[in-house]
Each structure stands twice: as structure tokens, then as C-alpha cells.
């Protein structure tokens, strides 16, 4: 389980970074989204990974703090998702404005001379 989650985070982050370094604005925004998925999964995993555990309590079991999932990373990840969603939307608008004003989708606003 740990291996699968860490591989998923690694692949997402790796592809995100690669796309982020590409020259087209669309690639950059997809790269940012992938990176933020990776980060969200990472935050989520800091609460500890368990499979097959009861949501709160298994029947007939006495409750103790050790059995609850840590709620704080969940709250953090929720906030992080909302914020990255909003800023990505904002970036999309700027990206479109840049495309309209400069006439190209290169991140520098002009094509490189070759």
C-alpha cells in the first residue's frame, strides 16, 4: 500500500515538474495541476495509511484515540484543494488573456527565434 501510494505521488510529481518546464502555457497549467494532485496525496498520506479499517469503530470494540484517523491532514488537504482549484482557475484566465494579447501560447509571450 505504501509503495503504491508513494509511486503514485512520485509519478504525478515527476510528470508535473517535467510539464512545468515545457514552453507552452497549456503544458504549464497541466503540470501545475498534476503537481498539486501529488502534493494533495502527500498531505493526505501524512495522516498515516491503513486499509480495511473501520470508519470510526468496529462493532464491539472499545474506542481509543489510536484507532481514529487523524482528521487534521484531511482538513488541510481540503483547504489545499480549494485553494489550488481557485488559483488554477485564475491562472487559466491570465493564460487566455496572454494568448489573446501576445498572439502566442509561449510562456514568454513570444516565440524563440531559431
Amino acid at each position: 500500500m505504501e509503495l503504491v501510494v508513494s509511486l503514485a505521488i512520485g509519478v504525478l510529481a515527476g510528470s508535473g515538474v517535467w510539464l512545468l518546464l515545457r514552453p507552452r502555457t497549456f503544458q504549464v497549467i497541466i503540470g501545475l495541476s498534476l503537481l498539486s494532485y501529488a502534493v494533495n496525496l502527500f498531505i493526505f498520506s501524512t495522516g498515516g495509511l491503513r486499509s480495511g479499517a473501520a470508519a470510526i469503530l468496529a462493532p464491539g470494540q472499545e474506542g481509543s484515540l489510536g484507532q481514529f484517523a487523524d482528521p487534521l491532514p484531511q482538513a488541510l488537504v481540503l483547504t489545499a484543494i480549494v485553494i489550488s482549484f481557485a488559483t488554477t482557475a485564475l491562472l487559466l484566465v491570465v493564460l487566455l488573456a496572454a494568448r489573446g494579447l501576445t498572439g502566442t501560447d509561449h510562456v514568454d509571450g513570444r516565440e524563440r527565434e531559431r
Binding site: 498531505i43 488559483t87 494579447l101 510562456v107
Partner: protein
Amino acid sequence: MSAWTDHLVIAPILVPMLAGAAMILAGDRRRRTVVVMGFTSTVLLLAFAALLLGTAGAPEVRIYRLGDWPAMFGIVLVQDRLSSLMLALVAVLGLAAFVSSLARWDRAGAHFHPLLQFQLMGLNGAFLTGDLFNLFVFFEVMLAASYGLALHGSGTARVRAGLHYIVINLVASLLFLIGVSVIYGISGTLSMADLAARMRDVAEADRALLEAGLAVMGIAFLIKAAVWPLGFWLPGTYAAATAPAAAILSILSKVGVYAVLRVWLLLFGDEAGASAGFGGQVLLAGGLVTIAFGSVAVLAAQNLPRLAGASVLVSSGTLLAAVGSGGQAVTGGALFYLASSVLALATLFLLIELVERGRDVGADVLAVTREAFGTGEEKEDALEPEEVGVAIPAIVAILGLAFMACALLLSGLPPLSGFLAKFAMMAPLLGPAGAPVPAASWVLIAALVLSGLATLVAMVRMGIDVFWASPPAAVPRVSLLELAPIGLLLGLCVGLTVAAGPVMDFMLAAAQSLHAPGTYLDGVLGSTAALREGRP
């Protein structure tokens, strides 16, 4: 402990938030209502900031628990001398930017005033919050508003620079989140005070990972502070922004410096046990390289906005290097420098736009060409033998004097506060008479002096070009609304100079409580302990 002053701590966040929301409801068309709301909000902010600044230090640390949850579970706002100082700077810059925007810039695009209010809210929140995740949230509020402000007025140059600015800051935010979650995973807390208390007994096996998490978060702070090599986005963005927006942006890079000051000194100060001093060399070296890069950028700047942007780099570098050099008295001087340089940079950004207004498009390029090839000046005395001197219009003279004051402040020449600030940093670096001065201090002193020289050379050259060699084609039309904020900011700098004694005492006290964070920890965690025992 009166209830009224306790609730004052949250006012700097609530006032601009409510004002901004009400402004959006009112809409841009009802300009008079919006302006009245903006004015009320910024003046109220200034009053609250002045009250908080006046009462800072008694009690040493003031805590505001939201929802009355204990500090380790809930959210706390913490107000001490450093945050009061930053709040006051934000309030002053907010008022200056607001007033100067009224003359023309607030009509250059939609929603200038609400964005300004949310910007102020984010800044105030970042300076007040006591835990790392809220710091992230307020960073985002502040950045989201700053994206809007940097793009205000639209245009190709702004959108192009804004795109880089937004992408870089989004990546920085992701790094911030990675750092925060590593810290939480290891230590189980996000409250800065609680974290500082737990730092001492982290298991040896986990310490490296915790330090790595803090370092990743530190990178995010340093991107905001525009340290070399993470600061290439800054001059372009600031140069492209409109004057009032650039004035408020000039404190944005100082938020990174504030975060470093607060978190680094709290977690890696002298009392931190095994981790004490972690990363201090990086701060010092990064600061020095930033000063060097900023000085070269200042000298290479071919127009005024670029020059101002490069000066922001110099000021960031100076602050980080001074903090990294580790002395308590040096930090005190650095805080004085922070106040003085923020005010001076904001003045310069407001001033530039007024000066540029009267000049022909491309005058800067012409001036540079003339300097390089020496053409265009020879025929003058043959043509106008009678003229003794060129009369300088009054308004140009006023702008020129203000520019001169900015040059003195930024390069650190007497008699204004820039000189006192640099002096206050250098004197403790030299140490007591007779004691050997470490090499790092010599390097820092040399960097301070040389960056001052570079700034002076660049600003004198630019000033001669702008005000004497190529006088404005037409006298710039400047309204009182645009001159008043410049007067206010420069007046405050003069005030800092005249009242340097008490101000310096305040800064030294702030530096002392930063370097010995016992009072901060007791203030935040003590209130938790009291609550656990059932006391109010």
C-alpha cells in the same frame, strides 16, 4: 486585561475583509460609496495599527484565541512587537496606495479597491497568525489579491510579467504545502510555538527529516523574498505593475523576510538545542549573493521602474544577510532598515509614475544611447548663446527633491534614516573595540557599503538624465492626491530619523524577544496550560 483591547488584535483582519466584501456588493459603478468605504477602512486600519504599536510590549505577547480553543488545537493570532511593526507598515502603505490610486489608476480596470482591501487583509493575517497552516492560507489570500493588483490595468507587458509571477508563486505554494505536511507528519503540530517546544526532543532519527521539511518551507519563503537565484521574476513584475499596486507590492517581498525572521529565529535560535543555527550560513550567503546581483541589476537598469525593482532585491538581500549573520543587535538594525527601506521603496514606486508621465516615450533609451555614443549634445551652445539656465517648473522641482530623498534613503547616505539603519547594522557587526572581527562580518559590511555606492551611482545618473539633461517635454500634470502620499511616506522617514533613539530602542526590544523566544512560547503555550487547569 480588558476585553476591548484583546479583541483589537483581530480587527486588522476583519476590517479590510468586511470592507472588501461590501465593496464587491456595491459594485464599481457606485464609485463614491466604494471610495468612502475604502477610506474609512484604511484610516481605521491605520488607527488600529497605531494603537497596537503603542501598546506593543505591554504585555510582551498578546494572544487571541479564535473560538477560545486552546492554542494547540485551535487557531491563535499572536501580536508582539515585530507583528505590530509590520501591521503599522502595511497600514501606512495601504493608505498611501489608496489615496494615490484615486487620482487615476483605480479607474484603469475593474475592482481595484476590493483587491487592495483583500491584499491588506492577507498581509495583516500573515503577520498576525501563530500557526504554519494559517500562514499558508493568508499567503494565498495575499497572493491571490496581488495577482489581481499586478495585472490591474491589463496590457501586454503586465500580462506577460504576471503570468511568470503567478506560476512561480503557485509552485512556491506547493513547496510550502510539502514542507508543512512533512513538519506535521514528524512533529504532530503546526502551531509555531508548540513546534518550537517540541523541536528539542524530536527523536534523532527524525530530526533530519524535520529539518528537511523546514528547509523546503524555507525555500517557499525565500522565493517570496526574491533571494538569488529565486528572484528573477521580481524586477519585471514590479516594473510592469501600476504605481499604487507596485507601492503595496513593495511590502510583499518583505513578507518572506518576515516569515524567515519569525520561523527561523523561533525554531533555530540559540535555545533550539541540537538544531540551533541550522541554515544560518545559507541565509547569509544567499543574502550576500542577492545584494551583489541586486547591485549589478541596479547599475544595469535603463529605466526608472527597473531601477526600483532592482532596489527591492538589494533591500531583501540586505535583510536576509543581516538576519543570517546571527547577532541580536544586527537584527535590531535590520528591523530599522526594513521600516526605512519599505517606506523609501514605496515612495519611489509612487514617484516614478509621476516623473515618467512628463517624459517622451523612449526618453530612457535615448539617454542611454547618448551616454554610450556621445552624440546629440554638441550643438547646444551654438544654438542658444543667450540662455543662462533652464527654468525648472515648480512641480518638477518638487518631484526632483522627492527623488533625491529616495536616493539618500536607499543608498544609505546621511542625513536620512537609511544612513542610520545601515549604521545600526554595521556598528554591532564590528563588535566591541579590540575584539577580532570575523571575516563574514567584513564581507557583509563591504557588501552594505558597495551596494549603497551602486545605488547612489545609478540613482544620481538616472536623476541627472531625468531632471536635468532631458527635462520633461511638457510639465507633468500631477494632482495633490498623488503628491500627498509621497509627502506622507517621506515625512515618516524624516520622523524615523528624528525619533531614531526611541525607534531604535523599540527595534532592539523586538530583536531581543525574537532571539530569546521564551516570552513568545510562554505567551502562547502558557495560555494553553492555564486553560487546561480551568483558569480563564
